[in-house]
Symmetry: C2
Subunit: 132 residues, 2 copies
DNA sequence: GCGTTTTTGACAATCATTCTCATTGTCGCG
DNA sequence: CGCGACAATGAGAATGATTGTCAAAAACGC
């Protein structure tokens, strides 16, 4: 029960979702993405969109954000670990890397004896355009 | 537009929720707290529990956490800004302060011209008891 | 006490997400 | 190349936490 059990199959729908995520910028909800696919003429069920997104998220290929608003937002973003700086007003997002934070979190957790450490961090603010 | 007239009234229900939060440890969902109040013999509507918790959260008297699981968890905790180190297995929580992170977030945001900066940060790990 | 204004609470409504399950599409293997 | 096992799909139902509604009750100033 280690690795090779998961036979992930290549389907039209999965490709469509991946392709869409590769093209659009910013975060989008599952329903949002579903609507876009529909506009493109791709017939993909909402359930499948959810499942595919979950799969991609588990695989670490996309990021999930849970804004206070309610719905989950998904986004394909750069590899590796990073965080997001999001504008409260227009949603404009900047990816930020924080080696400082990574090591801090790791250190603090270990000081308390916690292992297998992970963390979530989102920064919210008002971007220059919306503030001016 | 005389907005300064917000008269918050003292009610039995509000006190009950506050008192309960003062006694219990750890995070609890609204429904959880509602059930506890019921067991105590306090008759408080679920709607009221939600409203009271929201109010307390707005006032900064309690913390809200949104675990991936789904429901919001509320907890009365120490004053001031801090974060939580939560055990994935048993839920044991440690409050941690991170001046480093606070200033880092502020600095990064400002570098990008963002103002009115806030952030959310949760650290997850496996605590000593659960790991051993 | 009295009237005004907030608060309460039972219930309905909302809404994103998950579940169900019969059907369909993939892909390994002969 | 074709078969068959089994993952994947999808339409609709189900779930379940949270929010809205609104008449009735409680608090507070006077």
């Amino acid at each position: 029960m280690t690795e090779s059990g998961t036979a992930v199959r290549n389907t039209r729908q999965r490709s469509a979702v991946s392709a869409l995520l590769a093209e659009v910028d910013g975060f989008h909800s599952a329903q949002d993405l579903h609507a876009m696919l529909r506009d493109r003429g791709e017939r993909v069920g909402l359930t499948t969109v959810y499942r595919t997104l979950q799969g991609l998220a588990d695989a670490g290929e996309i990021d999930v954000m849970r804004p206070p608003g309610g719905e989950h937002l998904y986004r394909r973003c750069s590899e590796g670990h990073h965080h997001h700086l999001v504008c409260r007003a227009c949603g404009r997002t900047v990816e930020v890397a924080g080696p400082t934070v990574e090591s801090w979190a790791e250190r603090v957790a270990r000081q308390h004896g916690y292992v297998e450490v992970s963390h979530t961090l989102e920064i919210f603010g008002t971007c220059p355009s919306c503030a001016g």
